[in-house]
């Protein structure tokens, strides 16, 4: 397994905040070594790792016992530095983005809408890391970089997005 990080990634997001989607936490659990190294590199570049409660909910739901819930929550808290609070203007951005997504918005989850709304609020400071590269269309978001994880059985691509 190998992680391919483009040279321009760290210069683009150094000293900024990186918003992590649910699939990053899932993939950290499944492909620990690669993600541990990647996360360590991000932290080493003074990049603040953040998420939102909706992502936490997506990751935590389904935990079969309280103990397993706590373990999942501990994994999130060990990775992230900060949880972005959902303010009224982020809520407003969700409704505005629904207008921009048009028919395409029907397929989106609420989590995707709120992640996009956060990017819109913190345009200069906040970037999103996600494997769901079909949920952030390039007429609304800018693809800053692509990180590839090469596994024995295939390649996972993660987009790094910001709001336009």
């Amino acid at each position: 397994m190998k992680i391919v990080i483009p040279q321009d990634l760290f210069s683009a997001i150094k000293n900024k905040h990186l918003l992590l989607d649910t699939n990053v936490f899932i993939d950290t659990s499944v492909h620990f070594n690669d993600f541990f190294n990647f996360i360590s590199k991000l932290k080493g570049q003074n990049i603040t790792l953040v998420t939102i409660d909706l992502v936490k909910i997506e990751f935590l739901k389904g935990a079969p016992t309280i103990q397993k819930y706590k373990e999942k929550n501990e994994l999130i808290e060990k990775i992230i530095d900060y949880t972005i609070p959902i303010t009224s203007d982020i809520n407003n951005n969700v409704f505005e983005s629904i207008k921009k997504y048009e028919l395409y918005g029907k397929a989106l989850s609420e989590t995707d809408l709120f992640l996009g709304a956060c990017l819109m609020k913190y345009k200069k400071d906040l970037f999103l890391l996600t494997r769901d590269t079909t949920d952030f269309p390039l007429n609304i978001f800018e693809l800053v970089s692509v990180v590839n994880m090469i596994y024995t059985k295939g390649i996972h691509s993660y987009g790094v997005y910001k709001a336009k």
């Binding site: 620990f32 541990f36 373990e71 530095d81």
Partner: protein, 54 residues
């Protein structure tokens, strides 16, 4: 322009400990996916086709 507050950056100090935690979470995720698969397969389960029931 809205600014995000500076947060104290946490260090993942103990790789071995974190690895054990990730391994436990991985097992939990597998259990959850298996449960979802079981629910989905039960969508095909009805009285006329009991062979699909789990």
């Amino acid at each position: 322009m809205d600014k995000l507050p500076k947060a104290d950056r946490k260090k993942i100090i103990n790789k071995a400990e974190f690895k054990k935690l990730a391994a436990r979470v991985k097992k939990t995720l597998e259990q959850e996916v298996n449960f979802l698969d079981k629910i989905k397969s039960n969508e095909n389960c009805n009285s006329s086709r009991p062979i699909f029931c789990n």
